[in-house]
């Protein structure tokens, strides 16, 4: 079983990432359309809220701007994941080509780490804002998930350094005659 190069596991993963990326892209576009629709047609807001289980009780009390803000927060968060997905696809493209220690992969992985960190912090800020300012209870659920999220982000940064070192060694090998 091959893990790198054409017709390998990484090639298969690249295809799977393509599917997820375009799916996520459609969701983000749909959200943007919904936000625009909510702003254009005010009565839509309550109907949309009724279909979101955690927000259904608030459907009667929330203002249209609030609904648009909630969806905007979802949209921004998903856009962050979209960028991460796009960068992952580019990394996997180099892996599927068998070009493992590509010099651009370091930059991609670092950017991926910053994006994941940004999405995580944005999530905390949104949660805080929703609970404290808008008084929408979102319940618990940030314990172990937070630890694993930051652990993953640190792993991505470490991997970026591994790729940087690999690219440096590869360049040295290429220029050793």
């Amino acid at each position: 079983m091959r893990f790198l190069g054409p017709r390998s596991i990484s090639s298969l993963l690249k295809t799977a990432l393509d599917v997820v990326y375009y799916g996520l892209f459609s969701v983000v576009i749909s959200l943007a359309i919904i936000i625009l629709a909510l702003i254009s047609v005010p009565t839509l807001a309550k109907n949309v809220l009724l279909h979101i289980a955690t927000l259904a009780p608030l459907a009667q009390s929330l203002h249209i701007v609030t609904v648009a803000l909630i969806l905007l927060a979802y949209g921004i968060s998903l856009s962050g994941y979209l960028v991460v997905m796009a960068l992952t696809r580019q990394v996997f493209l180099t892996l599927a080509e068998g070009n493992v220690f590509h010099s651009d992969n370091t930059r991609r992985l670092r950017l991926m780490g910053f994006c994941l960190g940004g999405v995580e912090i944005f999530g905390y800020a949104t949660r805080l804002f929703t609970e404290k300012v808008m008084h929408v209870p979102l319940g618990t659920g940030y314990g172990l998930r937070t630890v694993s999220a930051w652990f993953s982000i640190l792993v991505v940064f470490v991997l970026a350094e591994v790729f940087r070192e690999g690219a440096k060694l590869r360049k040295e090998a290429d220029l050793t005659i």
Partner: protein, 67 residues
């Protein structure tokens, strides 16, 4: 300070082209170009031996340390 490889000078002296040197040594033309253009980071002992034999020179003639 760096190591300078006098491949261009030796090629002129021996009236050889890079392609002919490539045929004599078995090294690729691309690798020889890297050496000639002073872009190489390191040289294997085997490469030094091949070049010295093909160009009939000593390692000291092939490369010098520059200030």
């Amino acid at each position: 300070m760096g190591v300078r490889i006098h491949l261009d000078h030796l090629l002129v002296k021996k009236r050889l082209s890079l392609i002919e040197l490539s045929d004599r040594t078995g090294l690729s033309v691309r690798d020889l170009e890297i050496l000639r253009d002073q872009k190489a980071l390191a040289m294997r002992l085997k490469t030094i031996e091949l070049l010295c034999r093909a160009l009939d020179c000593t390692p000291n003639e092939l490369m010098t340390i520059e200030n």
